[in-house]
């Protein structure tokens, strides 16, 4: 050891006079001089020159012109010089591929060097040179190095496979390197194992469906053994890889957890976080009543707290992750509030994150402490932090009812400071408090009104206007206050304009006598002088309401408001689950799925938490849901959101955004718009809310004098938000709505059973697939399939609630489609659908709906509504759904028709690898209403002549040829003739589907 440090010191002294000078050469003719030096005979001079080249390269100068001269220096015994030349090569080889080939020989030679350090260096560098010709030469040396006797070379070669795969994936597969890499997982050296795991994981990411990382209990065991022995970095690779494994059962899951928990005491935070990831994921599988489950929960808290004594950057990563963990399993850290108190010297990014977690952990037990802290923070310097602290006080009031009074008085104190942004922030949160606890704290309104003039941010202005409108009857000069805002109406932001419009209408409804003029003024400002369609539409609605039925207007505008949520910024449960699988990574720092920030397909497949043992339980015991909802200690209330189109219309009085609820991306496609013009009105028909039905009738009543029907229609067309429910107003209920018998989930299942038992060869029903993922529908997941049972077409649906709030008021509507499919009755969902519950529904369909040709022909666009929103998706049905029972044609007619249809209309298909004889096929097909009219045998071929009739009366004729003689030829040939040839292809698909299942 001594000699090493000695050498270092010597070098330190020596280099002080030399190395930094390389950075200062900027004179002209430099390249020329360097060239001369590189070709010098003296070794020292050469080395100096290469150093200068590297220094120039570092600062971004182009020294590629020196390529041949530098490469010439490669043949050297001096390791330091060699490394410098390699560094140069890695940088410039790509730009000089032809010359780079000069280096190949040296690499190949070095790969055979007796010194393992040099062998490894060569293979490591070669992998970094992205030139095809060089890559070819790399294969042989790499193959040798992967089996080298020295572990240092093997661990380097393992990573080199990943490099090569990045350059040429096909080559790696062809050369069989993947198998060699897999073998390295069983290597005796832990570092080789770790690097092999890292390389395999990376390669597997670009082949999401390959079974490359074939994780089974044996390999897992090897990994767990290596885990105890390898470097800290290796432990991270292994833990991250383990996290992708799904244990077979809860026992395996527990045994892995037991072997991973010791990592929680590692000094390296990344090892700890990766271990936490594995534990959080595998915990999902453990039964909750297991003792070990509780032990594990307890073990997780201390290491998470310890992460907060790391360096600030790591603290930040840890806090972002804790934010997720607290949402997923609030019980882990519920007693650790104090460690999240902000320190005066924390960097701002740590402070903001801590504050977030404090709000999440706030409960009745610790609220006094939290409030005292928050008040302290509200006097700090950083504006963002202070704002967030003020907002946090408001959140506490809403979350912990007992503290509301103290929060309000704290906020009033803060308003007295007159610090502009503090006041504005306080007013925004007080508005939320008013909504949560109506008629309780209105005494403070006077104080708020004093600060009216200082408000310059839209959100604060909107909040204040809302307060004035809401409590207009208690504020003597409410009209004056609102009028003062009206002067600069056009300069206000939309948020303020909308709020002002609503507030003045409220005022008018409360004090109609004095404010007639004001309301006229605002309505005309909103409808005639504004370019904003939202504002205009809201103005028109109010106008009509007020002019036709003031009583209804009152019911609509002054209606009971929905509850506001206790939690803010909660991450949507499906996303949260995905992020839990990404603990420690960038995704967990950004709180975004990898697909949101990673280019290309690499590593962006969605990860999911494993299901608890006995997965059938999801419907009976909403376990996981409870864990999530426990965050608030009470069932969460309705989450208000700006994207809530229906809610917006029904209440017309949606407050400005109460919090940072992220704008919900509209999943609506423009193509789907027109179909809903009529549809949604009828959806609203089953709204039980009186205000809604009132509203609907009002809209259909004669027009107010000011605007004509056409004008309204035009405006509405321009505004997607309103168009949904207003366009094509005069629509009654669809024919069958409400008349059809209720078919609950249970009945549907019975039918299912009947189908399976009663009819020997029942029609094939494809398994349910997910049509609408929960991510796209605010937590509602819909999967389904189609079936034809006893001559009736059914759409079998499963609704799963993956959100945290209860879902009610389901309704369904189809767009026009090729065969006029339409619901034959209303959607009977036994509501309410509580979180994590799944309900199966069978919806009978008729074929008498409006017809429009779709592309593809069997496409069906569906809109489903619930209390939260309207969602759109499209699905495709097998056309066999439409084959009717009386589709057997008479033989003579068949013959005549076959001849009659022109041969251009005949389409040929092949069904490969089908091991059915003609009788079995015939039977199977008959189950789906494809009838065999006649059978003929020629030589070794059976020919079936079949007929099919569609619901719309179209006939289809088919000839199916089956080889009987040769067992090896299992292909069937199908010819389809039809007057509407575009259907043929879909008929063929049905044959495929039916015969294969």
């Amino acid at each position: 050891m001594e000699w090493a440090s000695q050498l270092c010191e010597n070098r330190g002294l020596g280099s002080k006079m030399t190395d930094s000078k390389y950075f200062t050469t900027t004179k002209k003719g430099e390249i020329f001089e360097l060239k001369a030096e590189l070709n010098s005979d003296k070794k020292e001079k050469k080395k100096e020159a290469v150093k200068k080249v590297i220094a120039s390269m570092t600062v971004g100068k182009d020294v590629s012109a020196l390529f041949p001269d530098v490469v010439n220096c490669m043949q050297t015994d001096n390791l330091e010089l060699k490394k410098l030349v390699y560094l140069y090569l890695m940088n410039y080889a790509k730009s000089q591929p032809d010359m780079a080939i000069m280096a190949v020989n040296t690499f190949v030679k070095d790969c055979e060097d007796p010194n393992p350090l040099i062998r490894a260096l060569a293979v490591r560098t070669m992998g970094c040179i992205r030139v095809d010709k060089i890559t070819e030469y790399l294969c042989e040396p790499l193959r040798k190095c992967l089996k080298d006797e020295d572990p240092y070379v093997r661990k380097t070669a393992a990573v080199c496979v990943a490099k090569l795969h990045d350059i040429n994936a096909q080559l790696v597969e062809d050369q069989g390197f993947l198998d060699t890499l897999k073998d390295l997982i069983s290597d005796s050296n832990p570092m080789v194992v770790a690097n092999a795991v890292a390389a395999l994981s990376e390669i597997a990411e670009s082949h999401p469906n390959s079974n490359l990382l074939d994780l089974n209990p044996q390999t897992i065991n090897k990994l767990l053994t290596a885990l105890n022995e390898c470097t800290e970095w290796g432990q991270i690779f292994i833990l991250d890889c383990l996290a992708n494994y799904t244990p077979r059962d809860d026992r395996e899951s527990q045994s892995i957890c037991e072997r991973v928990t010791p990592r929680l005491s590692h000094a390296n935070s990344a090892v700890v976080l990766s271990a936490v990831k594995v534990l959080m994921k595998f915990m999902e599988m453990l039964p909750k009543d297991l003792d070990y489950y509780g032990t594990l929960l307890k073990k997780l808290a201390p290491p998470l707290v310890t992460l907060l004594s790391a360096e600030p950057e790591l603290q930040y990563v840890a806090l972002r992750n804790i934010n997720l963990i607290v949402q997923k399993r609030p019980e882990i850290l519920k007693h650790e509030m104090k460690v999240f108190f902000v320190k005066y010297n924390d960097p701002i990014y740590v402070k903001l994150e801590k504050l977030d977690i404090m709000i999440r952990l706030a409960s009745q037990a610790n609220i006094a402490q939290v409030l005292a802290e928050l008040k302290e923070y509200a006097t700090e310097v950083d504006v963002d932090f202070v704002r967030k602290a003020v907002r946090a006080i408001g959140r506490c009031a809403i979350k912990v009812e007992q503290s509301a009074e103290r929060c309000v008085s704290t906020l009033l104190d803060l308003i007295q400071t007159k610090v502009n942004y503090v006041v504005q922030e306080a007013i925004v949160v007080i508005k939320d408090i008013f909504r949560k606890y109506p008629n309780k704290y209105e005494s403070v309104i006077a104080t708020l009104c004093e600060n009216l003039d200082s408000l310059d941010e839209p959100e604060a202005r909107a909040a204040m206007i809302w307060i004035v409108g809401e409590y207009a009857e208690r504020i003597d000069n409410a009209d004056e206050l609102l009028e003062s805002f009206l002067e600069g109406f056009h300069d206000e932001s939309t948020q303020v304009q909308l709020q002002l419009l609503t507030a003045i209408v409220k005022l008018f409804l409360k004090k109609p006598t004095e404010t007639q003029e004001l309301v006229q003024q605002v309505l005309s400002l909103a409808t005639q002088d504004s370019d904003n369609p939202d504002l205009r539409d809201r103005g028109y609605i109010y106008w009509r309401l007020l002019s036709t039925d003031p009583v209804a207007a009152k019911e609509v505008v002054l209606a009971e408001k929905p509850l506001i949520s206790e939690e803010t910024d909660l991450i949507e449960p499906t996303l949260l689950d995905e992020l839990i699988c990404h603990i420690g990574t960038l995704a967990s720092v950004y709180h975004k799925p990898p697909s949101a920030f990673v280019e290309g397909g690499r590593g962006v497949q969605h990860k999911r938490l494993p299901a608890r043992a006995g997965s059938g339980e999801s419907a009976e015991s909403p376990d996981v849901g409870q864990a999530v909802s426990a965050v608030s200690d009470a069932p969460p209330a309705v989450i208000p959101s700006q994207g809530d189109l229906l809610g917006d219309l029904l209440n017309l009085d949606l407050a400005p955004p109460t919090s940072n609820v992220p704008p919900v991306p509209s999943s609506m496609q423009m193509g789907a718009m027109d179909l809903l013009g009529g549809g949604l009105d009828s959806l609203m028909g089953d709204e039980s809310e009186t205000s809604a039905s009132h509203y609907r009738t009002e809209v259909q009543s004669p027009q107010p004098p000011e605007c004509s029907e056409r004008e309204l229609g035009g405006d509405v067309g321009g505004s997607p938000a309103m168009g949904v429910s207003l366009g094509g107003a005069p629509v009654g209920m669809p024919a069958g709505l409400g008349a059809a018998p209720a078919v609950g989930g249970g009945l549907g299942d019975l039918f299912d059973l009947g189908g399976g038992v009663g009819v020997t060869a029942g029609s094939y029903i494809p398994p349910k697939t997910v049509w609408l993922p929960a991510m796209k529908a605010k937590g509602l997941e819909i999967s389904g399939t189609f079936a034809r049972r006893s001559g009736v077409i059914h759409m079998d649906l499963s609704f799963t609630n993956k959100a945290m709030s209860v879902m009610t008021d389901f309704a369904i509507q189809f767009n026009k489609n090729s065969f006029g499919l339409a619901p034959a009755g209303p959607l009977q969902v036994l509501t309410p659908l509580s979180p994590n519950q799944t309900v199966d529904v069978s919806l009978p369909l008729s074929t008498t709906g409006p017809v429009m040709k779709m592309e593809p022909l069997n496409n069906l666009q569906v809109a489903v509504k619930n209390n939260i929103d309207v969602f759109y998706f499209s699905c495709q049905y097998p056309i066999s759904l439409l084959f009717v029972e009386d589709g057997k044609m008479d033989r003579q007619v068949f013959l005549a028709t076959w001849k009659d249809i022109p041969s251009e209309n005949e389409a040929q298909f092949q069904i490969k690898d089908c091991h059915l004889n003609s009788d079995a096929a015939s039977n199977k097909l008959q189950g789906s209403n494809i009838f065999t009219v006649a059978k003929r045998t020629v030589d070794t071929q059976d020919m079936l002549y079949q007929s099919v009739k569609l619901t719309n009366g179209i006939w289809m004729l088919a000839e199916l040829r089956i080889q009987t003689g040769n067992p090896n030829s299992t292909d069937l040939e199908l010819s389809v003739k039809c007057r509407a040839p575009e259907v043929s292809q879909y008929v063929y698909q049905c044959y495929e589907l039916i015969l294969r299942n």
Partner: protein, 442 residues
């Protein structure tokens, strides 16, 4: 994985640039400079996403180290790696400064080539690295075959932190228990939060491959032994600590990678083969029954709009026989302070206008004593509406005991192959308690 690594000076000039992945282009270097180093605003996050490229950065004095990637990397690992890289560089050439980096850029490139392969961190233990990255290129020929394989097996081996064949004439070890005690106290003297974060730093000069076992007064271990009815004779007060509390509750601890974690998890025993020289054996955190060495009692009175009266009393709270050192009390003053008059009983106090604080220094102070400072602060009248934020009064000190109450019970050394026994090893233990963030609000 990490796609590239850049080092910049305070002006944003590149000192080191090493790209590991093809998806990182030269423009990434500039993107970070423009968007982070030259940004007008204060840094709002150590992770920045610019055009789908993520930048992780840490700063050491005025040097910026940035790791860049386009993938969903393990963020904690990237930061741990950056810190580790700083450690390695410091071990090689001392302080991380522009001059040192320029002077050693060839060495840094060599290190970067070794400790990061295709963006995957490799062995980064300085001890191992120093055996073969020496900046003496000629060395490669001098090494014998045995030496070479010894190097590679150490770099990749299970015990990457120690090499074979170390010999000392005198086997000696030093244990330092270094604690920093953190406190946040309300003006009324209520403890808002307090914790000790401690480190056990070991300097070992031991021959061969010694097997060590470390014991302390960990409550869980002591309770277990108490139940069993046996007392650990060998360990009992062998290394000194006999007074004070019997045992302490450790909230959490983390260990150097040499410690066998699975053994700690199952038996709670700390056993390891130590690296040679100085290293950090463990870190721990306690929150219960902390001895707070000092109590600060502030009294701030606003007299009119242009004057503040401040009185601060500090009380020492430990055995009278012990001496605290390097005591410093920092009393913040408003920005519009025009003059300060200070009177203190002990030590020296000074108003430092540039730091907006009165700094009161006392060289030594025994236990169970108290001292006081009073100051009158003159204020310039301002029309600034915003109130003075009143930052907390902070304190620095050093005491010769562990505020957590931790005691080292034993450190046993076994080296079966060489003929020295536990008794032949000379052991030294030292306790130092320092202030961490020790603040009292006023």
């Amino acid at each position: 994985m990490i796609g590239g690594l850049f080092i910049y000076n305070h002006k944003g000039e590149v000192l080191i640039s090493r790209v590991y992945r093809d998806d990182i282009g030269r423009n990434a270097v500039d993107a970070f400079r423009v968007n982070v180093i030259h940004a007008r605003q204060q840094v709002r996050s150590p992770v920045t996403n610019i055009a789908r490229t993520s930048f992780f950065h840490v700063k050491r004095s005025n040097i910026w180290l940035a790791a860049v990637t386009k993938q969903n990397v393990n963020a904690a690992m990237v930061f741990e790696f950056l810190y580790k890289m700083c450690d390695v560089m410091t071990a090689y050439f001392g302080k991380i400064s522009e001059e040192n980096i320029k002077n050693n850029f060839v060495l840094i490139y060599e290190l970067l080539d070794e400790i990061l392969d295709f963006g995957y961190p490799q062995n980064s233990e300085t001890g191992a690295l120093k055996t073969f990255i020496t900046q003496q290129g000629i060395k490669s020929q001098l090494q014998t075959k045995e030496e070479q394989s010894q190097i590679t097996s150490q770099v990749t081996g299970q015990i990457g932190w120690r090499r074979e064949g170390i010999k000392y004439r005198r086997n000696e070890l030093f244990l330092d228990v270094l604690e920093s005690v953190n406190l946040l106290m309300s003006p009324q003297g209520q403890v808002l939060s307090a914790h000790v974060s401690g480190r056990v730093v070991m300097k070992s000069y031991l021959s061969g491959m010694p097997e060590c076992k470390f014991g302390m007064n960990d409550k869980i271990v002591i309770d277990k032994q108490g139940k069993g009815g046996t007392t650990d004779e060998a360990g009992k007060s062998e290394l000194g600590g006999s007074s004070g509390k019997q045992s302490i509750a450790i909230d959490d601890c983390t260990f150097h990678q040499c410690v066998r974690l699975s053994k700690f998890d199952s038996e709670r025993s700390i056993s390891f083969i130590p690296p040679d020289g100085e290293y950090e054996l463990m870190r721990y955190r306690t929150t219960k029954d902390i001895i707070l060495p000092f109590r600060v009692i502030p009294l701030v009175r606003e007299v009119g709009r242009t004057k503040l009266e401040v009185k601060v009393v500090i009380k020492s709270n430990f055995k009278p026989s012990l001496l605290a050192q390097k005591i410093e009390v920092r009393i913040p003053t408003p920005l519009n302070t025009s003059g300060v008059q200070v009177i203190c009983m002990k030590g020296k106090a000074k108003y430092k206008a540039s730091e907006n604080a009165i700094v009161w220094k006392i060289k030594r102070m025994a236990g169970m004593k108290e001292s006081q400072i009073s100051a009158e602060i003159e204020l310039l009248p301002t029309n600034d509406k915003k109130k003075w934020a009143r930052p907390p009064i902070s304190m620095n000190f050093e005491v010769p005991f562990a505020p957590s109450g931790l005691k080292v019970r034993y450190l046993k050394v076994f080296e079966p192959k060489l003929n020295y026994s536990d008794h032949d090893v000379i052991k030294w233990v030292r306790y130092i308690g320092r202030s961490g963030i020790y603040e009292t609000r006023c």
